[in-house]
């Protein structure tokens, strides 16, 4: 049909994407490809434009130029196949809702505007919570959750979307070790089953263990490809300005 069909293997692709906040460039003509059935990390120093890239690709913030393709198509044609998981800190957890209420928000696209939520939907949402070990907290008010539990709720909501592509913004920021392990195991399972995961990631020490592919970013693209090839000391030095690469996870 068109040239994009040739990239059948790319779940997510950005081309020449540029974004600016005021006069300050946040992303400069970035090209990147994320393959289907792989788990990819986006790494780079603070202010490198990692979250910005996901948000601009999803049309959440405006871009100056460039575009994003999902499964070779523009966003609006395949929105239902994509689940976006925002940073945990981007919402007010004091909102009057329970854990299962938030998970049910993941059904927004599959439910019509007037379909009432019934037993079937609740069972399905509980199944999603089961995947992240949160069933026992289904009726807990979300303000009473720990950081790790909040992140698990967000992951469960993304599961409820039954998407083929998960875009995660800092899924491991400020979560406990058990939660990190649960989420990684779950994402690896989804990827084995043919799904695709792309995560903004801070902790360089776990990139090799968790991810198949990597995009190293610092306003412009430094490297993009399999971890073995792209995740090199030279590329990291280029991205992090020659400073010694920090091994500790950065917390928000």
């Amino acid at each position: 049909m068109n040239v994009h069909v040739a990239d059948g293997g790319a779940a997510f692709k950005v081309r020449g994407l540029s974004v600016a906040y005021g006069d300050k460039p946040a992303l400069s003509s970035v090209d990147a490809v994320f393959q289907q059935g792989r788990m990819s990390a986006i790494v780079g120093p603070n202010g490198a434009g990692k979250s910005t890239m996901l948000k601009a690709a999803m049309g959440i913030i405006p871009s100056i130029s460039g575009d994003a393709l999902f499964f070779g198509r523009p966003l609006d044609e395949v929105r239902s196949r994509i689940a976006y998981v925002p940073q945990r800190a981007s919402v007010d957890w004091d909102f009057p809702a329970t854990v299962i209420d938030v998970v049910l928000m993941g059904l927004y696209r599959s439910l019509g505007p007037f379909t009432l939520i019934g037993r079937r939907q609740r069972e399905f949402a509980l199944g999603c919570l089961e995947e992240v070990d949160m069933v026992s907290l289904a009726d807990r008010q979300i303000g009473q959750l720990s950081g790790g539990q909040q992140q698990r709720v967000f992951i469960a909501r993304a599961l409820a979307q039954k998407a083929d592509l998960l875009l995660l913004d800092e899924p491991f920021a400020g979560v406990d070790a058990a939660t990190e392990k649960t989420i990684v195991t779950l994402l690896k399972k989804l990827v084995r089953e043919g799904g695709t995961a792309v995560a903004v990631h801070h902790d360089l020490s776990t990139v090799t263990a968790y991810f198949d592919d990597v995009l190293i970013l610092n306003v412009r693209r430094i490297a993009n490809g399999p971890v073995k090839k792209a995740f090199t000391e030279a590329h990291l030095a280029e991205a992090y300005g020659g400073r010694l690469v920090q091994a500790e996870p950065e917390l928000i």
């Binding site: 005021g22 948000k55 999803m58 049309g59 959440i60 609006d76 929105r79 994509i82 976006y84 998981v85 925002p86 981007s90 919402v91 007010d92 957890w93 004091d94 909102f95 009057p96 809702a97 329970t98 209420d101 938030v102 928000m105 927004y108 696209r109 439910l111 505007p113 008010q141 303000g143 009473q144 959750l145 720990s146 950081g147 909501r157 979307q161 875009l167």
Partner: protein, 304 residues
């Protein structure tokens, strides 16, 4: 129950209650979106709109006034966006600047214009005129079924019923996108919720309700009801729908208790005069919020 009870008490009390409930329902979402000030802003800027409409048309008929108020609300929303973007300041600051300036402009215009003769002044704008919205044909229960008597009902009653209907329809039709975009606007946008449209619709509805309520009961009730019942309700429960129901209950309680206290209540404590019903209704809603802040079950909010 006296003969004039329906006409002199029940009708104005119902008008106050309708205004209070419409404002309270929308107020829940303003409070959750940290946009409480927006209701305040809209209620304030309505004043210059009404005054300009009066100056232009020379009448206090409802049509031009509602138009003027709506235009002012729209202009203020645009100005707030402008100040926010050009000044790169937080939304609260932008709203504060715009609504204070426009309200002040309204007061100055009001003082300059020839409005005294038509009983249109600052006090009227602030407190409304709830006590005067009586139904003199409503002598007894029988007049509720008398077509001629019903035609004599204050027109504000009908307009507020329509405003409440608009609020209820909005909530039912847009419930899911409204809730999702209020809790997590970033997720909502990614999931294809028309976030901007929902936000604009909510603010427009606040403007419509504020204008309608303002004309009937004044700015004081409007501002108080957009914030107090919803804020108090949030302290009573951790679920959204119960929160809405609590806010409606608090709004009704404020209207009924406030209206009663302003008239009969003052007489009961031996005072020779009654006080503004609008002021008393707003004060009762503030008192409910204060009690909730000290004694409500969920006042601690999030633990973490």
């Amino acid at each position: 129950m006296g003969d004039l009870y329906i006409g002199l008490v029940l009708v104005p009390m119902t008008i106050g209650a309708l205004a209070a409930v419409s404002c309270a329902l929308l107020g829940n979402f303003l409070v959750l979106r940290k946009q409480s000030l927006m209701g305040d802003a809209v209620s304030h800027v309505v004043l210059p709109g009404i005054v300009v409409a009066f100056i232009l048309t020379g009448s206090i008929s409802v049509g031009p006034m509602l138009l003027g108020a709506a235009a002012a609300a729209l202009i203020s929303a645009l100005l707030i966006e402008l100040v926010r973007n050009l000044g790169k300041v937080e939304p609260g600051a932008a709203m504060g600047v715009v609504f204070t300036a426009l309200f002040a402009l309204g007061v100055v215009l009001l003082e300059q214009s020839n409005t005294r003769e038509v009983h249109f002044d600052v006090e009227h704008a602030l407190y409304g005129n709830l006590e005067s919205l009586v139904w003199l044909s409503g002598m007894d229960a029988g007049s509720l079924f008398n077509r001629a008597a019903l035609a004599d009902l204050p027109p504000q009653l009908g307009r507020l019923v329509l405003a409440l209907a608009a609020v209820l329809i909005f909530l039912v039709v847009f419930w899911r996108p409204l809730v999702v975009s209020t809790f997590d606007p970033v997720f909502a946008q990614a999931a294809g919720v028309p976030v901007r449209f929902i936000g604009a619709a909510l603010i427009s509805l606040v403007a419509i309700v504020a204008v309608t309520a303002f004309e009937a009961v004044g700015a004081i009730i409007t501002i108080a009801m957009l914030i107090c019942p919803a804020a108090a309700a949030r302290l009573m429960t951790n679920r959204l729908i119960p929160q809405l129901l609590w806010s409606v209950l608090f709004a009704l309680l404020s209207a009924v208790v406030g209206f009663w206290a302003a008239g009969s209540g003052m007489a009961l404590i031996g005072s020779g005069f009654s006080v503004s019903a609008a002021g008393m209704i707003a004060a009762v809603s503030g008192a409910i919020l204060a009690v909730c802040a000290f004694a409500a079950p969920q006042r601690r909010g999030a633990v973490n």
